[in-house]
Symmetry: C2
């Protein structure tokens, strides 16, 4: 155990940096520089809190973030231990995230110290949070049938489809969208618009927007890229099509199971060779990649869909090491909803730890702003950028310059940050509401995937199938989504459903949860 | 020769239908129903005009349209003869174009009877108009080097690039764009916008826009399709990518040489097997297709780029017959600039003659409205629509719903028609101006590709290479575009350059033409 005497944290109380953040930074730095070694035990949160004269929740919070990012692990009844972080110190780019975020005045979750004391234990207990995920990850299973409906516009049409409550994990809340700001910017842009704006722009997207995106990525996600590396396109689907042209058709891709089904369908339509790779509680197993002929791995390290797994730093390093060992190996990082993390700081992107140009980073504004804003982007490593320029730069940009200009101003002038902060609060309230409502089901179900994203997972403890859960809910006119819908390969496993809350009002969440209790009462 | 006594045209003078149109309709119907047979000679325009008591230009005009569409042909010093129109009467959909156009109150060139009498001979002399085209078509040639610049935003930046005049065939005139209308519609749409508009729409595009497009296509292009067959996408490049997923990767595609280089690059990036097929004065030779393993042919029947060739009805029927003889054969019709025909009625789309679902029709609003309006569309035959629904309907639409709504209102409320009519006049004036300015070069150059589109072709009669022409122009800081840039296969041939006028003012056209006369004086 690391003795308290060795903890030479000098906490500043001038308010420039949150206390939990200083503790987090200090311990991370000790791990990164090798002063804390793998397997070493950290002081308990109670001891450290007393020693530093801070609230215990402050230390909980710092430990929680270190747990989320995989720097430390919790062993039941034994305490917190430093993880093995392979090759961490050799790779560039890692660790500098928060510092850079600060300099750039980035997008940060302001919830920090306001985190409710009583709730801390539950939120940051990695054992419990990961339990559910791990189970699914290790035993992925059940008959699957993609319904093809994901991402379709449902929202208000819910009642029309005969559901009283549709717990869709794909819906978002548009009520918070700043229509007036969007209109104002649009009007302004059109007022000053000249024929240039209606002319064709650069193939990769307008440089101003790319610069704005690169700054945003830098401050909010730790992504390190030049605007030149960014390609703007009308949606992820299109960008993946473009990526197919860049990577070529002989790609052997690794996917997790379950995964984001839309991406799977797209890769399948490319006739890519697809291999599902075993997951554990840390996400895709890097050792399994070595045993296959895989050339690219599709991952969602900051928040895996649908399990919610956050890939710890150790596993990230393993994946990067795998990719780095051959020139034609790449990691496709789909950072689809990193904006919505409700507790703690955002998890940095995998790209932030990539010093060798092995990560293709993909992001979208569909979830954070609106699905109709058809703007996504992809950050290419330099080698692939070269290939894009040689073979694909004649493909015209698929986003109109007017839309690019509107989005650029929206981000540049701070509206996006404000919108994100607002939506994070709205979604957090819904998340907490749903979690509280599901409390009564805890006897029969394990809850997982909390604290980020727009859905939770419920796994039945007893003998019941996913189909039964979905069917019983349907009898009450409530729609939940079987985990098997996200499965790309059949596998036996437990009964798990996705319960989304993004598109529902708090009232609807309460109503739906009450109906689920009725429907599933016998399983509790 | 068809005797005058057999011409039982009852001309109505109530003004409901133009006189030339009645003559055109009558003769076309006689050919379609087999009353006029291939090889029969028509009365001369002078005789027919006297017999019908109409101006000779009226008959010229009617014959001109029949010539353009390939129903009749002109033999020098002998007169006009009925063409062989293979299988015409058996195929559905042909011939009904203008009638339907009228019912739907369609988009028509209003220039009709106002056509200047003195000019008629020149405009409608197919021998001369086709001479240049045929020559290039038959002897496609010269070293090629795609410069990749086509379609780039040049416009105002011309001077920056060191050119005094850039005769780009890709530039359009944005000065006529109805910014105020566009702004008004945008403002209106945003005023009434609710969150639905910011939600994700249908994968094929919003139904309202597809219905509007189908009506427009029906009235202006004779295209017969249901809104369900239309797929809206952000540009032709994207739609071709989607088409790749529908047709599969084992497509052996036939292209003309020269052709639209951008499409060639895209097909090449698909790793399609590409075969260039010999052209004659009617366009792609259908008999050559039979000798290859080609499964799809890419054509621009209404106005081939860059030669300007209009594919006559006979050749269209041959191509349709070729496609019809095997289930996996298709014709890809790129109807990229059909809106800009300056003399006569618009040439109907090939799809209008297709009764068996063999034509994939592609259109765009980039040329007719603005390049930044990233909206193109594709009309799928029913069989391919099925395949799209099965394999590709999960690809999200790449155009935002807001942009779709704006465009829908712009077309639906008649602004598009007005804009097209206005632009047709503007471009016609530029076209006529350039043609007049080039008159002095006629000694050394043959002009072709007149009366439609946004460029002309100049072919040197003497011993000079394309490179010399381009280089001499460049010495005067004038940019012209070698035909070889549109070549996808090297071939020996004459020295031809493309001279575009779309993006130039009339003043610039005069200046540029004067500089070309200086540059090329010795070749005249």
């Amino acid at each position: 155990m690391t003795g308290l005497r060795e903890m030479t944290i000098q906490l500043r109380t001038d308010g420039i940096q949150h206390l939990y953040e200083q503790i987090y930074d200090y311990i991370k730095e000790e791990i990164r520089t090798g002063k804390l070694l793998a397997g070493e035990r950290l002081p308990s949160t109670r001891f450290l809190a007393e020693y530093l004269q801070v609230a215990r929740s402050t230390v909980d919070y710092a430990y929680g973030q270190l747990l989320s990012e995989g720097y430390i692990e919790a062993r039941p009844c034994r305490g917190y231990f430093v993880c093995s972080v392979e090759d961490l110190v050799q790779l560039d780019g890692s660790g500098g995230f928060f510092a850079r975020g600060k300099e750039a005045g980035g997008f940060r979750d302001g919830s920090g110290e306001n985190f409710p004391e009583g709730n801390g234990e539950e939120v940051w207990n990695p054992g419990r949070a990961r339990e559910g995920n791990g189970e699914e990850g290790r035993n992925p299973g059940r008959a699957r049938e993609g319904n093809g409906e994901e991402g379709q516009n449902r929202g208000n049409a819910m009642e029309d489809r005969g559901f009283r409550v549709d717990f869709s994990p794909y819906d978002i809340d548009m009520s918070g969208f700043p229509f007036s700001v969007w209109k104002k910017i649009t009007k302004n842009i059109l007022s000053y618009a000249n024929s240039d704006l209606f002319a064709k722009g650069e193939a990769q997207g307008d440089w101003e927007l790319r610069r704005t995106i690169s700054r945003y990525l830098h401050s909010s996600r730790g992504v390190d890229c030049r605007p030149e590396q960014i390609i703007v396109g009308a949606g992820n689907d299109y960008l993946l099509m473009l990526l197919e042209k860049i990577l070529g058709r002989h790609v052997h891709i690794a996917m997790e199971n379950p995964t984001y089904k839309r991406s799977y369908r797209i890769f399948r339509s490319f006739a890519y060779h697809i291999t599902t790779v075993e997951m554990d509680e840390a996400g895709m197993r890097a050792d399994r990649l070595e045993q296959s002929q895989v050339t690219a791995a599709y991952v969602m390290p900051s928040h895996q869909f649908p399990t919610g797994t956050v890939m710890p730093i150790g596993r990230r390093m393993e994946l990067l090491k795998w990719a780095d060992s051959r020139p034609d190996r790449y990691l496709i990082e789909d950072d689809y909803d990193s904006e919505f993390r409700f507790r703690g700081k955002p998890i940095p992107a995998l790209q932030a730890s990539d010093g060798h140009g092995k990560v293709i980073y993909m992001g979208t504004f569909s979830k954070a702003i609106a699905p109709a804003i058809r703007v996504s982007f992809m950050v290419l490593p330099e080698v692939l950028l070269e290939r894009y320029r040689e073979n694909c730069s004649f493909y015209s940009c698929t986003v109109s310059r007017i839309d690019q200009s509107i989005l650029n101003e929206f981000i540049r002038d701070g509206y996006f940050e404000r919108h994100l902060n607002k939506m994070r609060k709205i979604y957090r309230a819904k998340h907490d509401m749903l979690l509280a409502c599901l409390q009564q089901l805890r006897g029969g179900f394990a809850v997982s995937g909390e604290n980020a994203g727009l859905h939770l997972l419920l796994t039945a403890r007893g003998k019941v199938t996913e189909e039964e859960l979905v069917a019983r809910a349907l009898e009450k006119k409530v729609r939940v989504y079987g985990l098997s819908e996200s499965m790309v390969e059949d596998a036996a496993g437990s009964a798990t459903v996705l319960v989304g809350f993004g598109g529902l009002t708090e009232e609807k969440i309460r109503e739906g949860a009450a109906l689920l209790r009725e429907a599933w009462g016998e399983f509790c």
